[in-house]
Structures are given as C-alpha cells and as structure tokens.
C-alpha cells in the first residue's frame, strides 16, 4: 500500500465523515423550532471549559477535564472493585463444575440488569451516593471479566496442566505458575470490556446521584437549559471512552503476544 493510500484511509476519509456529521448537525440546528444548538454556538459557549480545562470557578462550574478527572477517579475505584470481585469469581466458575452449575443461572439473570436498576438498590444498601455509584459500577462492569476469565480457565490447554501434574506442583503453584498466566489473555479481554461498561455506567450513576463529574455536569447543565454543554459532555465522554479502550487494547495486545 502506498503512503498516499494510508493518508487517505487514516486522515482524509475520517475527516470527510466528521464533516458530514457536522453538516447534518448544522442543518438540523438551523431548522425552525429546534432547541439543538449549532456547532458554532456549541463551541462558543463551551470554549471557556475547553480552553481552561482544569479551572475551578465554583462547585458546579469547573473545566471539562476537571469534571472528567472526577469521573475517572470514581470509575477507577468502581472498576478496581469489579476486577477484584470478578476475577476470583471467574476462576471459581472456571475451575469448579459444581460452582459453575450452581451460580451460572443467577449470573445469566443478573447480567442484563441495567445500571439504572442497580443504582436505587445501591442507595438503599449504602445510603450515600458515592458508595452507591461504586456498587453500581462494580456490579455492572464485572460480568465480562467474570465470564471471560471462566472461559479462559476452562480453555487452559491440557498440556500445561499435564506439566503441572507431572512436576507435582502444589495447588497454589499450579494456580500462579500455570493457570493464571495461561488465562491472562482472556482476563485482559474481560478487563477491556469491563472498563468500557464501567465508563458507560459512570454517567448514569452521576446523573442520578449528583456526584460531581462529567455526567453530573451534563445533567446539571440540562436542568440549567445550557444545551451546548450537553453536547460538550457527550463528546468528552465519547473521546475519553475511546482513549480508555485504546489503552486497554495496548495492554491486552501485550499479553496476547506471548
């Protein structure tokens, strides 16, 4: 492939796509009777938040990256919780047939439940908004980790297990020297998918609990009728989610290359 072709694929075509979407957006916003702000107006109103992304002018008036940072911290906590619970759970499901048969049905039932449904339960359980948000993130985001880890454990090649048996490795050594490394690629696929979900959940959790963050800001600006900021938040959430996924893909690829 020539260098030109690469440029077209990676630069020109995505630009054309973005221009197309902005064009439709402009058309829509210029229609009579719509509340949708135009791209230009969105930029003008949001400029302050983007140009001074870490500025704190007040509790509800902060730079967009500052809000994003709050959200990321919360996501990191909830995600860590999801992984800490999800990975061992996945190992148990993968290792023990009895455990898998006992808990698989209930996992299948809980898995599709929306974060919007978990959040009120979290508020009932913990009575404060931050733990409730963490609970919701953890309980929604852990399933890909649980299921991928379980699949990974079940598909550890018999050859590796035979090596452990022939060398008479202890259970602990077999787990740490053979099973966990062999499961790594599957685990990291789960971790990546879980992170995506955790980031999805954060916005919903912040909206409902009023925890400061990019989702909380979005909801507050909706209530203050500053619709331009809704679009700013959506774009920020999307970009951050994209970056997180790319970063996790890099980590994942590292473990898959072995």
């Amino acid at each position: 492939m020539s260098k030109n072709r690469v440029n077209i694929d990676w630069l020109v075509l995505p630009m054309l796509g973005a221009l197309g979407v902005i064009g439709i957006w402009t058309l829509w916003s210029s229609m009579p009777g719509t509340n949708l702000p135009s791209p230009l107006k969105t930029w003008e109103v949001s400029k302050l938040y983007v140009v001074e992304p870490f500025e704190k002018r007040g509790e509800l008036d902060q730079g967009i990256l500052r809000f994003t940072w709050y959200s990321l911290v919360l996501v990191a906590k909830g995600y860590a919780l999801a992984i800490l619970i999800g990975t061992p759970l996945g190992f148990l499901l993968g290792l023990s047939k009895m455990f898998a048969k006992s808990f698989d049905p209930i996992i299948q039932v809980l898995r599709p439940v929306s974060p919007l449904a978990w959040l009120p339960l979290g508020l009932v359980l913990f009575e404060r908004s931050e733990p409730a948000a963490l609970f919701t993130i953890a309980v929604c985001a852990m399933w890909p980790t649980v299921l991928n880890t379980a699949v990974g454990v079940r598909s550890v090649p018999q050859d590796y297990i035979n090596v452990a048996r022939v060398l008479k490795l202890s259970r602990v050594k077999t787990l740490f020297k053979v099973l966990i490394p062999a499961t790594m690629p599957y685990m990291f696929t789960g971790f990546r998918l879980s992170l995506g979900i955790a980031w999805l959940v954060i916005v919903a959790a912040e909206m409902l609990t009023g925890v400061p963050g990019v989702g909380g800001f979005l909801w507050q600006e909706y209530n203050s009728l500053i619709y331009e900021h809704i679009i700013l938040c959506i774009l920020t959430i999307g970009l951050v989610g994209f970056v997180l996924d790319r970063l996790m893909s890099l980590v994942e690829a590292r473990f898959k290359s072995i």
């Binding site: 050859d159 590796y160 035979n162 090596v163 048996r165 022939v166 060398l167 008479k168 490795l169 050594k173 020297k177 053979v178 490394p181 062999a182 790594m184 072995i258």
Partner: protein
Amino acid sequence: MGAYLTISRLTKVYPTPEGPAVIVRDFDLEVNKGEFVCLIGHSGCGKTTVLSMLAGLNEVTSGVMVLAGKEIKGPGPDRGMVFQSPCLLPWLTAFENVMLGVDQVYYTASRQERHDLAEYYLSLVGLADAMHKRPAELSQGMRQRVGIARAFALSPKMLLLDEPFGTLDSLTRFELQKVLLDLWGRDQKTAFMVTHDVDEAIYLADRVVMMTNGPDAEVGDILDVHFPRPRERKAIMEHPDYYRLREYLIIFLEERAEKKRGIAPDTPPHVDERIVDLGPTRYKGRNSSKPIGASLHGDPKRAGSNR
C-alpha cells in the same frame, strides 16, 4: 536381580455407550536399570495409553507398575516426561521452564545450585546461547531440546518419552536422537520411549517392544538390539544386521501385529547370534485363545515406519 521397572497385567478399559472398550489388556514388561526400551506399534494401538499410565496421567483400570521397588501411584517428578509437543509454558523462557521443575525437585538446594543445574542441562542439549528465549522464539527442534533438558534436570528415576520427535523433520530428528542418547549415556538413565519410527527404535533402544493392535493390545514380541554403545548412526546403518532387525520390526507391524498373540514367527530371521540377539527371548507367550478384534484405527497393512 529384579527388574527396575515391572509392569504386570496392566489393563486400561474405557467405558463407552456400547459397553466397556478394552484398550490395553494385560500388558507385561520388565525393564532393567539403565536400559533403553522403545515401545513400537501402530498409531492408536494404545502405546501412548501405556506411557501415560506410567506417567500417572491416566488412571489404571487394573494391574500394577513398580518402579525401583515402589508402586507407581499418580504423576510425579521421579519420572521425567518428554511430551510429544514439548509442552513448554509459553510465557516462561527456556531457562524458566526448566527451573519450574528444578525448583520443585531440588527445593532444599540453594538458588545458585538450582540455577547452575538448569544451565548445565540446557547447555548439554545445545541451548547455552538461547536459554533466555521464550518458546515462541525457538524452533520446533529447540523447543524439544528444552523438553529433554527439563526431563533430565529433574534427575528422575526414569525417563518417559512420548513420541518426542514425531513432529520434527528428519534432520532435526537425527540431531535430537543423538542429543538424547548422549544425555542418556551420561546420566545412565532408564528410558522408556514410545515411537512409531522403526529406525529410531533400532538406533536408540536396547530392546524394542512391539505392541499388537488394539483393542486388547498387549506385548506382541520383543526384539533385542545388541549394537555396541556408544552408537554411531552410520556404523549401525552399515551393519549387516541392521536391515534384518528393521525387516523383523516391519514384518511385525505389517503382518503379525494383527495375528494371534504369543505365536513366534514361522521363520525366524537368520541373525549372527554373537552380535544380535533376535526374537522373543524374554517374552513368554501366553496361551491366549481370545479372538482378536479388527483394528479400530487405520489399515493394519500400513507400515508403522511410513508416518
């Protein structure tokens, strides 16, 4: 003097929906200390089943295996296993793969001693310069060298080899057979190797045990190979008895593997007894009148050496 390894009436039965399938029935064998025994037979005849029972990886239905006065129960590092696929852990380097076993066996030795031991065996198999590479960076033959080093580094009572060179090209196979023989001669190990390669069996073994076709597979015949050691491949292949031995094995695989067991060949090949002791010398034929079922796997007319 009793044998070092005694296998008596070893039987493996798998339950199937059509009733129990007897894969191996009453497999008897005695192996002396320091002896190299090859087990040869058609693929699917149950030779790998015998080996994995010896390794403790496969449950024994009935029968007893005694190694150095101790009954074999389950797997353990007292038997150094070389797998067909080298079975290296891909996230560990060659050195770490060997260390995994060394740490397990020599847990009382110092870290330095264990390091030295792993390095010593990796150097012996010719991997001194590649021992810190991952399996993915090694060729198939180099990986199997690691597998051999790992087995020897455990200082096992005996070696179990499951067609270790079956997937290698013939040049690499020749090299590795030599590496294996060198290490075996140096450490005076007892070795039991499954193979379907007639030439490999003659080059390596003191005795070649021929297995009848399954189901109900058992020892069909035993061939003594009395070429002097250390062996030179070229000298052996030029030896007049080489082709007699080879023919004897091939005839067994092509014709007799399927016949009733315990019957000596009609016309034993003529061999100079001073050099080569042919024929079923240690094998006592049983008066078995069981009908022998058709082969489950493949065409019994196909020579085992062709694969």
